[in-house]
Amino acid sequence: MIRFILKRIATFIPVLLAIITITFFMVRIAPGGPFDEERKVPEETLRQLQKAYNLDAPLYRQYLDYLGGVVTGDLGPSFKKPSRTVSEWIVLKLPVSLELGCYALLIALCIGLPAGILAATRPNTMQDYVPMSFAMGGICIPNFVLGPLLVLVFSLWLGWLPVTGWNTPAEKILPSFTLGAVYAAYIARLTRGGMLEVMGQDYIRTARAKGLSETAVVLRHGLRGGLLPVIAYLGPATAGLLTGSFVIEKIFLIPGLGREFVDAAFNRDYTMIMGTVLVLAALVLVLNLVADILQALLDPRVRMSMK
């Protein structure tokens, strides 16, 4: 197990290196630069700026300098928001996005798991159709439609919740729910599928034959196997949560890393783009690993294949 984790962590290095390289050259090859303003900047100022940001060095030199910086945790100065370095901006913004993602995942699990279990215990009845219809709705209504609609209803018409912001608990309800809704839907479908498969197996019949209550059969014996597809889905889901947060943070004006990245891309803030991409990618890699470890802890078959 430890060896498996170490091996996986070792693969992070080439992957992250590839990401840095691709982003670096993609950003540099693209037409236009961070100092293309409507107003023409004097030649001398431009040269000064380029010197200050190390843009006058040859490209390979810039690349190596950047890599050197990354190793020491220095992601360079921001081109467009010079009041802080990129690393400082990330330290400031990342916790907000993580918090949003955690709430969303929590909501998704709290809604998706019970809905899926409910549907699986009485397949092809109303108890199955109703939650599964909601799940289909969650998949087909994109979060950038759901969010504004919820704001329209709960904030503007009913006046129960604030429209935007990320300070008070009340302000955090709508964004977290909006981001989590799709995952609740997928988790409900996966739980139902997993449970249905498990509930037909011999060991469930054994559990029933022992005279256990139906609740105990479902929750103690069924759920353990039925959860596996959900756990396997958590890895890809985290990547989706991060990218989903791009629009959620935009709609609800949340000062997180997702919005920072989109703004940086639009502003051609080279260092900020590279910094945010690097951190987001690293985060996805780590979270995928965590999901895999969880899977191994719960499923002996997966553990065996890791040896």
Binding site: A30, G193, P236, I273
Partner: protein, 297 residues
Amino acid sequence: MMQEALFENAESGTSLWQDAWHRLQKNKLAMLSVFILLFVVLTTVTGPWIIDATQGYSYRETETTLGASAPSPEHWFGTDQLGRDLLTRTLHGGRISLLVGLVATFVSMIVGVTYGAIAGFIGGRTDQVMMRVVDVLYALPFVIFVIILMVLFGRNIYLLFLAIGAVEWLTMARIVRSQVISLREKEFIEATRVMGLPRYQIIFQHIIPNTLGPVIVYVTLTVPQVMLLEAFLSFLGLGVQAPMSSWGALIQDGVGTMEEYPWMLLFPSLALSGTLFALNFLGDGLRDALDPKASKD
């Protein structure tokens, strides 16, 4: 005469496709979805022309004196702030959304099927390396790169096709690979080998056609994903450029003004979600029809 009578009585076999079609017909939700999709395609393709011919305005025609107006007999979906008819714009946006959905899915299908078939057929070390690459790509937040590409290289619709197609082929490659591995050992493939056919011919003429069932199912489920991704990019302001529009772009416009003019958010959202519903139900139905063994997720 005699012979015909004989044939009529003979047990007529049903092909896989006929079987699937019968199963699909029994699925009411899937059949409803087929009709909804036909309706959406028909209206988005012909609608703008019909409105132009009968009413005399197009999706870009502004009527600034009218401004934003609520749905009315003249403008069924209302108008936006520039007085543009929202029905026409929704239909026209639908063309772009559907076009992106279909073309980008096609790109992803070509890449995914080829990649998966080659990996599965050759097997061994090549397969391991190729699938390891897919695993690594899976773990990456790919949308980030699509965003960077779209921002830096301009909002070009061809780039959009390519970028989305490049993201969505991974699952297709996995599905096709596992199919190919199970086909590889079958007798009829062995027969083609004995006949001395070259590898590419075995792959493209004999193996790929036999993976069609799962591929069709997955293609149907990829189209809504692609349309969602396009709408997501348009929502961020990275899709097609004004005065052209897509459902995502219209939704973005609608969000900005939803308090004053809620219809501008409502109709494009309904169009997008309705189409996604239909595509997903049809995909689920096709999966049940073509591959009864596969579980729901």
